[in-house]
C-alpha cells in the first residue's frame, strides 16, 4: 500500500491538468455522445430562458410578428407587475388552493401507503394496482368523468349527499361555486395520488424492521411507532414529494384550462397564476408581460424551494447522517 501511496503525485495548485491523448479522445467521445442533450438543453431551455428575460424589458406582443424589431421599455413591465392586482390575486388563489391541496397531496398518499404496507392487508398487490390505475387514465377523459360526478344538479357525489340527508339547497355547488371549486379540484387531484403512493410505499419498505422490533420491545404503541420510527425514516421521501408538490402547485394549470376552458370561472376563482400567464401570452397577446410574470414565478418557486431545503436539516432524517 505504501508503494502505491508513493506513486501518487499531488498536483500543485495552478498547474494545468495534462490529458493523455487517450484521455482526450475519451473526453471528445463523451462530449459527442452527450451533445444531443446539450444541444436540446440550449435550444429548448437555456436560450428560451435568456430570450424571455430579454423580453421582460420590451413591449413585445404576440401580433408584433417574429421578425419585427423589439422596442425596449426598461423596467416598465416589472413596475406594472408590482402594481397589478390581478397578478397578486391569482397568486393568492394559487396559495389558497395550496393550503388545501398540499396537505392532501402528502397525507392521503402517505395514509394509503401505510395501509398498503400493513402486514394485515391481504392482496396488497391488487389494492396497489387499483389505487394506481386512476393515475394512468388520460387526463381529458378523467376531467370529463369528474365533470359528471361533480355536477351540482345530478352528479353522483351530490346525489349521494342528498341520499345521506343533506338538504338540496345546502348541497355544494362544486365547480360552479366560488367556495367549493377548490375542494372539487382537490378531490379530482386525489385520483392522481398513485405515483406518490408508490414512492411512499417504497420508502416505508426501506425502514429497517429491527427498528420496529426495538420499538415494540420498548413498549411503543402504533401511534408512537409511527411518530418516532416510521415518519422520521420516510422523511426523505416525504421531503422529495413535498418539493415536487410545491412546484406542481405553482404550475397548476391543466385542470382549470380543460375544465373551465381557461376562463377562470366561476367568478375568477380558478384564475391560477400559471393560467394567468398562459392567458397573458395567448389571450391578451402580451408576450413581454407574460415573460415578466413567468420570471416572477421562477423566483417564487426558487425561493420557496431554497427555504424548504434550508429547513430540511431540522426535520428530514437521512440515516447516513448518523
Amino acid at each position: 500500500m505504501f508503494e502505491e501511496l508513493r506513486t501518487i503525485r499531488i498536483r500543485p495548485t495552478g498547474e494545468k491538468l495534462k490529458l493523455t491523448p487517450q484521455a482526450r479522445r475519451e473526453a471528445r467521445t463523451g462530449l459527442l455522445l452527450i451533445s444531443p442533450w446539450i444541444i436540446g438543453f440550449m435550444a429548448f431551455t437555456l436560450i428560451p430562458m435568456v430570450a424571455t428575460l430579454v423580453f421582460t424589458f420590451s413591449d413585445l406582443k404576440i401580433t408584433s410578428g417574429i421578425l419585427s424589431p423589439i422596442k425596449f421599455v426598461g423596467l416598465q413591465n416589472y413596475i406594472r407587475l408590482a402594481k397589478d392586482p390581478q397578478v397578486w390575486s391569482s397568486l393568492g388563489i394559487t396559495l389558497k388552493y395550496g393550503l388545501i391541496a398540499l396537505p392532501v397531496s402528502i397525507l392521503v398518499p402517505l395514509a394509503i401507503a401505510l395501509l398498503m404496507n400493513s402486514k394485515w392487508l391481504k392482496g396488497s398487490t391488487v389494492f396497489r394496482s387499483l389505487f394506481y390505475m386512476p393515475y394512468i387514465v388520460p387526463f381529458v377523459a378523467a376531467v370529463f368523468v369528474w365533470g359528471g360526478m361533480l355536477n351540482p344538479s345530478n352528479g353522483w357525489i351530490n346525489q349521494a349527499l342528498a341520499w345521506l340527508g343533506v338538504p338540496k339547497g345546502s348541497l355544494p355547488g362544486w365547480v360552479n361555486s366560488t367556495t367549493w371549486v377548490y375542494p372539487a379540484y382537490v378531490i379530482m387531484g386525489i385520483w392522481g395520488i398513485g405515483n406518490t403512493m408508490l414512492i411512499m410505499i417504497s420508502g416505508l419498505q426501506g425502514v429497517p424492521t429491527e427498528l420496529y422490533d426495538a420499538a415494540k420491545m420498548d413498549g411503543a404503541g402504533w401511534w408512537k411507532t409511527l411518530l418516532n420510527v416510521t415518519l422520521p425514516m420516510v422523511s426523505p421521501v416525504i421531503f422529495y414529494n413535498l418539493v415536487l408538490s410545491i412546484v406542481a402547485l405553482f404550475q397548476f394549470f391543466l385542470v382549470p384550462l380543460v375544465f373551465n376552458n381557461g376562463t377562470g370561472e366561476p367568478g375568477g376563482s380558478t384564475l391560477f397564476y400559471n393560467l394567468l400567464i398562459y392567458k397573458t401570452f395567448f389571450t391578451y397577446q402580451n408576450m413581454a408581460y407574460g415573460a415578466t410574470m413567468a420570471w416572477l414565478l421562477f423566483l417564487v418557486i426558487l425561493v420557496v424551494t431554497l427555504v424548504l431545503f434550508s429547513t430540511a436539516r431540522y426535520w428530514v432524517y437521512y440515516p447516513s447522517d448518523r
Binding site: 459527442l32 455522445l33 359528471g148 345530478n154 338540496k168 389571450t283
Partner: protein, 495 residues
C-alpha cells in the same frame, strides 16, 4: 475502432434529431365538438376531444405548387361544427375548380382554441390570409391586424349596391374599411308556445308598439318588467307550482321562464341601451363608462337568478346536462330567451313549439336592439392581398348562399333575403313570425356592444368573470361587486 463506431453513431443520432426538428409539423385533424357556443358560456362537461392544443386545425387538400395558396381560417366565429364542414369544403372545391390561379385552402379550428391558434400563427409570421366568418368580438380580439380593403375595393370596382348602406358603413372604422357585409343576425325573443299555452298566458307581441295582456286582463307595455312578470309564472317546480306561488320549491325547478342564452354582460346590456363603455382617448386617461341602465340590466339578471321569485337558471343549472350543458333554451325547458338569428343553428333540441316575438322595451319605452354581424377579414400580413381579395369577393358572392345556410346567417345582400326566408321556413315549418327579424333590422346597436375596448381581450375577460360571479354566488353584494368590476375594467383599459 470501437470509439470511432460510437462517434459515428452519435453523429447519426444528432443528424436525425436535427432532420426531425426541421421537418414540417403534421397537421392534426381535430375531432369535432358536440356543441359549439359562439360566446364563452362554459359547459362543465367539455367534450373529451376538446384538447387545448395549439395545432388543432384541419386542412383540406394541400396546395398545388403553381397556384397562389390562400389560407382561409375558420373558428373565430361560427364554422367549426361538424355539420358545417361539408358546405365549407364544397365552397372551397367550387372556387378552386372555377379558376386556375389561386388554390384556396381551408383551416378549421375549434371555437374554444381558435384564438390561441390564430395568435400563434400570427406570432410566427405564418398568419392565414382570410379569417372568417368573424363578428366584432372575434375581430376585436385581433384589433389592428386587418387589412384596409378600400384600395382593393376601388381597384376591382367592388359593387356594394346590394347591401344596406348602414351595414357597409358599419365596417368603416379607424383602421379603414376592414370588412364588407356578409351576414347579419338580428335579435328576437325566442319563446316556447306550448309553455305559454299550459300557463294560459298570451303570447308576446309580434309588432312593435303592441301592449301585452296579463292573465288578469290588464294591458301593459311589453318591456323587461313585463317579461320578468310572465317569466315568473312560466318558472315551474316539480309539483307544478310557479315562482309566484307561496309553496314554490326553488330547489326543484324543472322549467325556467327566461335565460339569456349565449349572452355576455355587454351583449345583454345592449338590449337595455347601447353606448361606448369607456371614455378617454389614450392610455392613462381611459375610464370605464358603465351607464345606470346597464347596472340595472345586470341587477335584473341577478334578481332573476337569486331573488325571492327566481326565473333564470343559475350557472350550475344552466351548465348541467338536464338544461342543455350551457345551452339552456335548447333543452326545451326554458320559456323565453332573447338571442339572435344565429341561434337557429343551436336550437335543434328545443322542440317544435317555439316562435319569435319582438324585443321588450326599456322602462322609458325605448326598444334597444342588437344586430350581430359576421364577415370575412383579410389579415394585414398576407403576402397575396390581391388574390385574398378575389377569394373574399367569392365568399361574399357566389359562395355566400351555401355558407349562409350552414351558419344560420341572414344574408346582408338584399337579393339573397327572399331565398333565405324560404329556406328557414322549410327548415323550421312550425315558426310563423319570421317577419320579426325584418322588423328587428331597424334596431341595430350603435355603437356595437362588441365594439373595440382598450386591452380588449383582458377587458372582455373581466366581464365574463363578473358574469359568472353573478351566476354562481348568491351571497355577493351586487353593488359592491359592480364597483369592483368598474374599477378593475378601468385599470385594465389603462394597462
Amino acid at each position: 475502432m470501437k470509439n470511432r463506431i460510437l462517434a459515428l453513431a452519435a453523429v447519426w443520432v444528432i443528424f436525425s434529431m436535427i432532420l426531425g426538428a426541421c421537418s414540417p409539423a403534421p397537421t392534426v385533424t381535430v375531432a369535432p365538438q358536440a356543441t359549439q357556443a359562439p360566446a364563452a358560456v362554459q359547459a362543465t362537461l367539455p367534450p373529451p376531444t376538446a384538447a387545448p392544443t395549439l395545432q388543432a386545425t384541419q386542412t383540406s387538400a394541400p396546395a398545388t405548387s403553381n397556384r397562389v395558396q390562400i389560407r382561409w381560417f375558420v373558428g373565430l366565429g361560427t364554422g367549426s361544427r361538424p355539420d358545417q364542414q361539408d358546405a365549407q369544403k364544397a365552397v372551397v372545391a367550387q372556387f378552386n375548380a372555377s379558376q386556375d390561379k389561386i388554390e384556396l385552402v381551408l383551416e378549421v379550428a375549434n371555437y374554444d382554441t381558435a384564438r390561441d391558434v390564430l395568435s400563434t400563427e400570427i406570432a410566427s409570421g405564418n398568419g392565414p390570409d382570410i379569417v372568417g366568418p368573424v363578428g366584432w368580438l372575434g375581430s376585436n380580439s385581433f384589433y389592428g391586424q386587418w387589412l384596409d380593403l378600400s384600395t382593393y375595393m376601388q381597384k376591382y370596382n367592388y359593387d356594394t349596391s346590394d347591401f344596406d348602406p348602414a351595414t357597409v358603413k358599419m365596417y368603416q372604422t379607424d383602421e379603414g374599411t376592414v370588412g364588407i357585409p356578409f351576414a347579419v343576425y338580428p335579435a328576437a325573443v325566442f319563446y316556447q308556445t306550448k309553455m305559454f299555452d299550459e300557463a294560459r298566458l298570451k303570447y308576446p307581441p309580434t309588432q312593435y308598439g303592441e301592449h301585452y295582456t296579463l292573465p288578469d286582463g290588464t294591458q301593459v307595455p311589453w318591456n323587461w318588467d313585463t317579461l320578468a312578470k310572465i317569466a315568473k309564472i312560466l318558472t315551474v317546480d316539480k309539483n307544478g307550482k310557479d315562482a309566484t306561488e307561496s309553496d314554490f320549491d326553488r330547489n326543484n325547478i324543472i322549467q325556467y321562464g327566461y335565460d339569456p342564452v349565449y349572452q355576455e354582460l355587454f351583449h345583454f346590456a345592449g338590449f337595455w341601451g347601447s353606448q361606448k363603455p369607456y371614455s378617454g382617448d389614450s392610455k392613462g386617461n381611459y375610464k370605464a363608462n358603465i351607464p345606470d341602465n346597464w347596472k340595472a340590466a345586470w341587477k335584473w339578471w341577478f334578481d332573476g337568478l337569486w331573488g325571492a321569485q327566481p326565473y333564470v337558471p343559475t350557472g350550475a343549472v344552466a351548465n348541467s346536462a338536464d338544461f342543455g350543458s350551457g345551452n339552456p333554451f335548447n333543452s326545451g325547458k326554458i320559456a323565453m330567451s332573447v338571442t339572435h338569428s344565429w341561434y337557429l343553428t343551436y336550437a335543434g333540441q328545443a322542440g317544435k313549439n317555439w316562435d319569435f316575438a319582438v324585443l321588450p322595451a326599456d322602462a322609458q319605452g325605448v326598444v334597444n336592439g342588437r344586430i350581430d354581424a359576421d364577415t370575412f377579414r383579410i389579415w394585414k400580413g398576407t403576402k397575396h392581398p390581391d388574390e385574398a381579395f378575389q377569394v373574399l369577393s367569392y365568399l361574399l358572392g357566389d359562395g355566400a348562399p351555401k355558407l349562409l345556410k350552414v351558419y344560420g346567417a341572414m344574408p346582408a345582400r338584399k337579393t339573397l333575403l327572399k331565398q333565405w326566408y324560404a329556406d328557414q321556413a322549410a327548415a323550421f315549418p312550425w315558426i310563423k313570425n319570421w317577419n320579426i327579424f325584418t322588423l328587428d333590422m331597424a334596431y341595430p346597436d350603435i355603437p356595437s356592444n362588441e365594439g373595440y375596448l382598450p386591452n380588449f381581450n383582458e377587458a372582455w375577460n373581466r366581464t365574463i368573470t363578473f358574469k359568472t360571479l353573478l351566476q354562481t354566488d348568491k351571497t355577493i353584494d351586487y353593488n359592491s361587486e359592480f364597483d369592483n368590476f368598474v374599477n378593475d375594467v378601468t385599470a385594465i383599459y389603462n394597462k
